[in-house]
């Protein structure tokens, strides 16, 4: 039955790969909706989340079945567990994209600031890059330096700081303040997307190295290279 087992593992991973591609498109969609202030795209993006959720649920249901029926061990077990966690992270990222879409909708008609939007775009693009690094590392099982994800997270933090400065400088008008608050939440979403990407990298590293390490956390420094 090992043939069938291999197929089941491959299918779970290929669903995860699809989910990753969809989530990348969702981030891109969120960035475009934000940049173009595109309400049509906002609605499309919200509906698109169902596509991600379908993969998410299929994987979510497939994993207990593989665990119960095939009793995976060693690298197979790590693979199944990594898929389980990455699946959760991807689904969360997609939800953040939906939140961004909704915030774009809520910010309709409010005065926009190009500098802030630029900083948000920077954050989103870095998030996408981090996600693709984590996901590609996972699927290729390549001995990459996943800790680099932590480095990639820095520009996000920098853009976030820049963004706060710009927002404070926007001025006291109510419409401006409302827009600023919406954008703070957008920035929070992009920041969280980066964090989930780091966690995906941790899972990829776990699969390869056989031990789990948290790359970074507020309470401690990243492990020495």
């Amino acid at each position: 039955m090992r043939d069938l087992y291999e197929v089941e593992l491959e299918e779970l991973e290929s669903l995860l790969r699809e989910e990753g591609e969809l989530v990348d498109r969702a981030i891109r969609g969120a960035l475009n909706a934000l940049a173009r202030n595109d309400l049509e795209l906002v609605d499309e993006l919200i509906a698109f989340d169902d596509e991600v959720d379908r993969r998410y649920l299929t994987i979510e249901q497939g994993i207990p079945s593989v665990l119960a029926r095939q009793t995976p061990v060693a690298s197979d077990l790590r693979l199944v567990l990594a898929i389980l966690y990455i699946n959760l992270h991807l689904e969360r990222i997609a939800d953040y994209c939906v939140t961004i879409a909704k915030l774009v909708k809520l910010a309709q008609g409010l005065p926009r600031d190009a500098g802030v939007l630029e900083a948000l775009e920077e954050m989103g693009e870095r998030g996408r890059e981090m996600l693709s690094t984590g996901i590609a590392g996972f699927h290729s099982r390549s001995a990459r330096n996943f800790e680099a994800l932590v480095e990639m997270d820095r520009p996000i933090d920098r853009a976030n700081r820049k963004l706060i400065d710009r927002l404070i400088a926007l001025g006291p008008e109510e419409a401006q303040r409302e827009w600023a608050m919406r954008m703070i939440l957008v920035s929070r979403c992009f920041e969280r997307i980066g964090d989930h990407a780091v966690d995906i990298g941790e899972q990829a590293a776990y699969l390869e190295r056989g031990r789990f390490e948290e790359f970074t956390d507020a309470s401690h420094k990243p492990p020495a290279k």
């Binding site: 090992r2 069938l4 891109r28 993006l45 207990p64 029926r69």
Partner: protein, 278 residues
């Protein structure tokens, strides 16, 4: 826009819609007695076409007794008696005028211990065909059966050699080839891998998965993990101790294998599959 809907492929997750599956066996209140002793009590079960159905349970729960009723092997035990109704494709298997030999041609069986005849590999497979008069294209039929049993490549150059020279795993696949040569509709496997090493076991399990395309398979196994790996449906048989102290096998739970191994409905099943009895 860039967010084009994609089609989802729910890969690998075999959707078992029972209402759409044809029922091959229908057991209604089937009890089997050996003399006065009841071995299994009132089993009700539907076995579906082209699925692998596993029967699991502790020793003495009547698993083997039950599977043997499916092709009237219990007839061969003089004291054995069956009550209730057992229908095969709607026909009462134990009804008047049913030819037990024909039943066993349509419903083949492979046993725990590989039991090839002390004949050549070829003759083992050809044996049933000759007896049943299926002599046309004999070579082709033998080759086809050996192919189906995933044994052809290993034996094609020594068909005239004694079957007893094969390894245990090969002998078991030969017995499967012998069973499928006569073109049955159902294959019953009674602990087919319990005498084999893990590699030979794995070969048999892969083979079962292949055979499922054409045959309905019922397997008795005391290896729960094997049932979990191979079966679509799993029946858990348990033991019931009567007030008089006799032990009878009963069907405790029957469901999709995934359900049995992730969330069984009966606490006795849960106790058995988790290894926590009682």
């Amino acid at each position: 826009m860039e967010l084009i809907k994609t089609k989802i492929d729910v890969a690998g997750q075999e959707r078992l819609s029972m209402s759409e599956r044809e029922t091959v066996f229908e057991a209604r209140d089937v009890s089997v007695f050996y003399g006065n002793q009841r071995a299994i009590d009132s089993v009700n079960i539907d076995i579906y076409q082209r699925l692998i159905t596993a029967i699991i349970g502790p020793s003495g729960c009547g698993k083997s007794t039950f599977i043997r009723t499916l092709n009237r092997m219990t007839d061969l035990v003089p004291s054995a008696r069956l009550t209730g109704k057992l229908r095969y494709r709607g026909i009462d298997l134990y009804g008047p005028g049913v030819d037990a030999v024909e039943v066993r041609r349509r419903i083949g069986m492979v046993f725990q211990k590989p039991n090839p005849f002390p004949k050549s590999i070829y003759d083992n497979v050809a044996y049933g065909l000759r007896i049943l008069g299926m002599k046309k294209d004999l070579d082709d039929r033998v080759e086809k059966a050996l192919h189906s049993a995933a044994l052809w490549d290993e034996v094609k150059d020594r068909l005239k050699d004694s079957a007893l020279g094969l390894s245990g795993g090969q002998q078991q696949r030969l017995c499967i080839a012998r069973a499928i040569a006569v073109e049955p509709e159902v294959i019953l496997l009674d602990e087919p891998a319990s005498a084999l090493d893990p590699i030979a076991t794995s070969a048999i399990e892969d083979l079962m998965h292949e055979l499922k395309r054409d045959y309905t398979i019922v397997i008795v196994t005391h290896n729960m993990q094997q049932a979990a790996r191979v079966a679509d449906m799993t029946a858990f048989f348990g033991l019931n101790v009567t007030p008089e102290g006799s032990r009878e096998g009963i069907l405790v739970e029957y469901d999709k294998t995934e359900k049995i191994f992730t969330n069984p409905s009966d606490s006795r099943t849960e106790g058995y599959v988790t290894g926590r009895f009682g």
